[in-house]
Symmetry: C2
């Protein structure tokens, strides 16, 4: 048994890297933070970071504790006819929030981001660097338009899941899709 | 000068009423909480509550620190042609978040509601009791559909104001209206 008041699990190299990464990303932003700088701050070699994490993108995602892999989601969202993008987005969003692993993780990321500016930065970078540019290029639409559309679904998550506003919170995914798919289609001029 | 560690302004009768109201609303919900029960808990007469606040609704709004008077907003939203409801909703929402008095207050209410379940209850009651039933009756649409549409605008506030996601945060109200008005029209089948 571990002594009362202490948690098991000492600080590891990976934890050091993530702590250094969080600090540097928060201080300098995503673009200006290099793997070399993270390595220096964590007292490891850049090669070790590449070995453990693979890329700056992966370090960021691990540091941000965002439970969504952008490549996996984008592979689903951007595969298929452009006109069906709203259906795919609504379905992927609903599935991620309903999933027993990613759902609670998304909740805590979003709660933290809304409550603390430091945490908001990670959601912002995730949206601005990883998601919006690629969806915007795929649809051939301005990032503002894409961001406005995605924000509509974010609002559903906030209202239904985080705030529990009824009858939205109890509505089925099918009913919600009947409102959100046409709305996103109109917002995206599809 | 007041001693260090103590704030000026002693507890007043109004503060006692609001503290009692917050506790009772949180415990029993809005419907089951009476002015009589709030008065008893605060050690005042129901007549004093009616004199100071006017109604249970006003006590709730003061206790919840929501800087929006439902009657004032509804008077704007529900006046005019049904088909122009999306324009009025988008304009009223934008104005409330831009206003130098209500904007920051809305921000802090929403941040608190997302962070703490106790505070979420007040936003929930505001939406469920004061706003949705009347908008739903005016439009002749199910509350779920109305809530889904309003949540889309809430998402804009969360993404742009609370999280600061660009280029959404810097977009003009005019540009955003060009995406949100058609989206709300589609969501509301107008």
């Amino acid at each position: 048994m571990s002594p009362a008041g202490r948690r098991p699990g000492p600080s590891s190299t990976a934890d050091d890297v993530l702590a250094a990464a969080r600090e540097l990303f928060a201080e300098r932003g995503y673009q200006a933070t290099t793997v070399r700088a993270i390595a220096a701050a964590a007292g490891v070699t850049p090669a070790m970071i590449h070995h453990f994490f693979g890329s700056k993108e992966k370090v960021f995602l691990a540091a941000a504790r965002i439970p969504i892999d952008p490549d996996t989601v984008l592979a689903i969202l951007l595969a298929g006819p452009r006109e069906q993008f709203p259906e795919r987005l609504v379905a992927a969003f609903g599935a991620a929030w309903r999933d027993e692993r990613t759902g609670p993780a998304l909740q805590s990321v979003l709660r933290a981001a809304v409550a603390r500016p430091q945490e908001a930065l990670t959601v912002r970078v995730f949206a601005e660097q990883f998601m919006l540019p690629r969806v915007s290029a795929y649809l051939g639409l301005p990032p503002t338009q894409v961001a406005a559309a995605v924000a509509m679904l974010l609002g559903r998550a906030v209202a239904a899941v985080l705030l529990g506003i009824e009858p939205l919170a109890s509505a089925s995914d099918e009913e919600l899709a009947a409102y959100y798919v046409p709305a996103l289609r109109a917002a995206l001029s599809l």
